[in-house]
C-alpha cells in the first residue's frame, strides 16, 4: 500500500474523528477515501507565512527571499505535496526543516529537502528520541538546541522556544519573525480550546502541561505574539449541515483557555480522588457539563483523559 493511500485513509479517518461530536452520522456516510475538506494546500496566515493542510494535519512554512523555512514535513507523501505547494509560491529552495517534535507522523519526510541541501533543526531531546527510535523516513537533525534557537534566513527568522516536555519530550513552539503567530504542535488546536486530539494522551507529559501553557502565554505577552497556528484541523457543521473546516489560526487566548481546561480537570480529578473515587473511574465522578463547551467533547474521551490525569496524581508522571 502506498504512503499516499495511507495518508488518504488516515485523512478520512481523522476527519471522521474530528467531526464525531458534531456530524458523526453524516461523516460515516461519506465515500471511503474522500477528503471532505478538499485537496491539500496552503493559506497565507501572515506576511510570507503559510499554514499547509493535508487531510487532518496542518503545518507551517515561511517564504523568504533566500529560501524557505518549513516546520514538519509530516511524512514522505505530505512532503511532496508541501514541496509542490511551495513551488507555486517561490522558486527558492527549502533551506531549513524544523521539527516541532520527534513523532514520526510529523518529523518524517525531510529527506526530500535535505537531498537538496536543507538543514534539519530540532530540540536536542528530539535527537535523543530519534536515536532510540529511528525510522527510515525520519532524518536526524543537523542542528540541535536546548532552550531557544533562531533560524535566520533572508533577513527573517523562525524563533524556536522549548518549554519542557508536553506532547513528546522535545516539542517546541515556532514563531516566524517578523510576525505575530506561533505554531504549537498537538497540545492546542485553534480556533478554540478542546479536549486533546488523542484521548490516551500518548507520550504526553501531563505533569508539565499547565506549566507549558503558562510559558507559552508568557512568551507571547513578551514577544507580541497574538495568534496561534495549530497542527490539526478543527471542523464544525456548516449552515447547510455539511462538514465545514474551521480556521487553522486562532487568537493567543486559546492557549489560556486550554490551560484553564487542564487546571479545571486537574482540580476536578484531585477532588474526586480525595473523595475516594478509584483512579480508574474518576472521570465518572466529575461534572461533565462544564466540559461540554470545549471542542471535541465526548463523554468517553473525557473519562479516559481524567483517568490519565489521575495517574499523574498517583505516580507524579
Amino acid at each position: 500500500m502506498t504512503n499516499a493511500f495511507k495518508i488518504c485513509i488516515g485523512s478520512f479517518a481523522a476527519a471522521l474523528l474530528a467531526l464525531q461530536a458534531v456530524t458523526a452520522a453524516l461523516a460515516q456516510t461519506l465515500p471511503f477515501g474522500s477528503d471532505i475538506f478538499g485537496p491539500p494546500g496552503a493559506e497565507e496566515i501572515g506576511d510570507g507565512v503559510y499554514s499547509f493542510r493535508s487531510g487532518a494535519y496542518r503545518t507551517m512554512f515561511m517564504v523568504t527571499g533566500e529560501g524557505v523555512i518549513l516546520v514538519d514535513p509530516m511524512g514522505e507523501a505530505n512532503a511532496k505535496l508541501i514541496d509542490e505547494s511551495i513551488a507555486k509560491l517561490t522558486d527558492k529552495p527549502v533551506k531549513y526543516v524544523v521539527y516541532s517534535q520527534s513523532h514520526r507522523d510529523r518529523a518524517g519526510g525531510a529527506k526530500l529537502f535535505t537531498n537538496r541541501g536543507a538543514k534539519v533543526v530540532a530540540h536536542q531531546e528530539c535527537a535523543l528520541n530519534l536515536s532510540r527510535t529511528p525510522f527510515p523516513e525520519v532524518v536526524p537533525p543537523d542542528i540541535t538546541f536546548t532552550d531557544v534557537y533562531s533560524v535566520k534566513l533572508g533577513g527573517r527568522s523562525m524563533d524556536l522556544y522549548y518549554f519542557g516536555p508536553a506532547n513528546d519530550t522535545c516539542a517546541i513552539v515556532a514563531v516566524p519573525r517578523p510576525g505575530d503567530v506561533a505554531f504549537i504542535v498537538n497540545v492546542v488546536i485553534p480556533p478554540g480550546a478542546s479536549l486533546p486530539w488523542n484521548m490516551t494522551l500518548a507520550d504526553t507529559h501531563t505533569w508539565n502541561i499547565v506549566n507549558f501553557m503558562k510559558r507559552v502565554e508568557d512568551m507571547a505577552a513578551r514577544e507580541g505574539v497574538t495568534r496561534i497556528a495549530g497542527s490539526f484541523i478543527s471542523a464544525t457543521r456548516g449552515p447547510n449541515g455539511r462538514p465545514q473546516l474551521l480556521p487553522g489560526v486562532g487568537p493567543i487566548s486559546v492557549v489560556t483557555e486550554q490551560r484553564r481546561f487542564w487546571e479545571m480537570l486537574f482540580a476536578d480529578v484531585k477532588a474526586a480522588l480525595d473523595a475516594g473515587a478509584p483512579s480508574t473511574a474518576v472521570g465518572t465522578k466529575i461534572d461533565h457539563e462544564k466540559y461540554k463547551v470545549f471542542r471535541r467533547y465526548d463523554e468517553k474521551a473525557l473519562n479516559i483523559i481524567a483517568r490519565r490525569v489521575a495517574s499523574t496524581y498517583v505516580t507524579g508522571r
Partner: protein, 322 residues
C-alpha cells in the same frame, strides 16, 4: 495463550477486583491512609521469599527487604505510612538499621516514604534517570537518591548481595530489575506481576511507559534469568487469585520466572497485531475497531473495553513512534 486460572469471566473479575483495590490503594498511599484490599485479604503481610529475604505487602502493593547481621536492605518504601509500618516489621526481625533503600523506579507510589530509613542513616540508590525524574516532579515524601548508576550496580551487605540491572526505558525511564542473592530471584515492578505473565497491563493507557523498548526489555530480563538460573520472580503488587474456597485470595509473592517470557510474548503478539493493522494503512484511531480484540480474550484480566483502550494506545505508538 495464557495460564488457565479458571473461566475468563472469573479471571477478569478477579483482575479488576485487584485493579480496583490498586486504584483505591494507590491514591490512598499518596494521602498516607490505611491500605485497602479486596474482601478476605489481609491489609498487610510479611512473607519469606528466600534466605533472610522477605516480601512485604502493604494493601495492593509489594516491596521486599533483606536482613543481615550488618543491616537491612529495603526496596521501594511505597509511602511514608507504609515505610513506617515496614520499619516496625523489620524491628521484629532485627535490631540492625536499614542501610540501603533501592528505588525500583521514580513513581511516587513506589518511591515515597524513605525518610524513616534515611533517618537511620540509609543510603538511597536509584538509576540515574530517577534522580532527574524526581527533580522534575518532586514530592515531599520522595527523597532524592544519594547514589545513582547507569547500567549495573551491586550492593553488598553481610551475606546479601543485590544486583541492580537497568535495561532501558520500560515503565518510567528509570525502572530497574533487582536481583537479590543468594535467593537469586528477580524483583520486577509494574511491568509484570507474578504469577501472571500473559496478562493485561495494570493501566491500559500505559502512562509513562516506553512501548518501543518493551520487547527488548523482556528479552534482556529473560536472558538474565536464563544466564543466572533464576526460576522465581516477585512483583510490586498484590496479585489476586481464587483461593481454595473459591473466594479471592492473595497470590504468593513468588511466581515462576516463565512469566517473563509469557509477558514478552503478550507484548510481541499484541504489538504485531496492531502493527500489521497499521501497516495495512488503517489509521491509528480506527485500529481498535478494526482489530478482532477477542483474539486476545485468553489474556489474564482481559476486558474488551480495556483492550480497546490498550490497542488505541498502541496504535498511537505506531503512528508517532512513541
Amino acid at each position: 495463550m495464557g495460564t488457565n486460572w479458571g473461566s475468563a469471566t472469573l479471571r477478569a473479575a478477579i483482575f479488576f477486583l485487584a485493579i480496583f483495590a490498586l486504584s483505591l490503594g494507590s491514591y490512598d498511599l499518596a494521602l498516607a491512609a490505611p491500605p485497602r484490599t479486596p474482601p478476605g485479604i489481609a491489609p498487610t503481610s510479611v512473607e519469606p521469599i528466600g534466605k533472610d529475604l522477605y516480601s512485604y505487602r502493604w494493601g495492593p502493593y509489594r516491596t521486599m527487604f533483606a536482613v543481615t547481621g550488618e543491616g537491612v536492605i529495603v526496596a521501594d518504601p511505597l509511602s511514608d505510612e507504609a515505610a513506617r509500618a515496614l520499619d516496625s516489621e523489620i524491628d521484629k526481625l532485627t535490631a540492625a538499621p536499614v542501610k540501603y533503600v533501592v528505588y525500583s523506579h521514580s513513581h511516587w507510589d513506589h518511591a515515597a516514604g524513605a525518610r524513616v530509613f534515611k533517618d537511620q542513616g540509609a543510603t538511597i540508590v536509584a538509576q540515574d534517570l530517577c534522580a532527574k525524574n524526581i527533580s522534575e516532579t518532586p514530592h515531599p515524601d520522595v527523597l532524592p537518591p544519594d547514589v545513582t548508576f547507569a547500567d549495573d550496580f551491586q550492593i553488598k551487605l553481610g551475606d546479601q548481595e543485590w544486583d541492580l540491572h537497568y535495561f532501558g526505558p520500560s515503565h518510567s525511564d528509570c525502572l530497574i530489575v533487582i536481583q537479590p542473592k543468594p535467593a537469586n530471584i528477580l524483583y520486577l515492578v509494574d511491568v509484570l506481576n507474578p504469577p501472571f505473565g500473559y496478562s493485561m497491563p495494570w493501566n491500559a493507557l500505559l502512562p509513562d511507559d516506553h512501548i518501543y523498548n518493551f520487547v527488548p526489555f523482556f528479552d534482556a530480563v529473560d536472558a538474565l534469568a536464563k544466564r543466572d538460573g533464576v526460576t522465581q520472580i516477585t512483583g510490586g503488587h498484590l496479585s489476586v487469585i481464587r483461593g481454595p474456597d473459591g473466594k479471592p485470595a492473595a497470590a504468593p509473592a513468588l511466581g515462576p520466572a516463565s512469566a517473563i517470557a509469557d509477558k514478552r510474548r503478550f507484548w510481541d503478539e499484541l504489538l504485531t497485531a496492531v502493527g500489521d493493522e497499521w501497516a495495512k494503512g488503517t489509521y491509528s484511531e480506527v485500529i481498535p475497531d478494526q482489530l478482532d480484540l477477542d483474539r486476545f480474550a485468553d489474556t489474564h484480566g482481559y476486558n474488551r473495553d480495556e483492550m480497546w483502550l490498550l490497542v488505541r494506545r498502541l496504535g498511537s505508538y505506531y503512528a508517532g513512534g512513541r
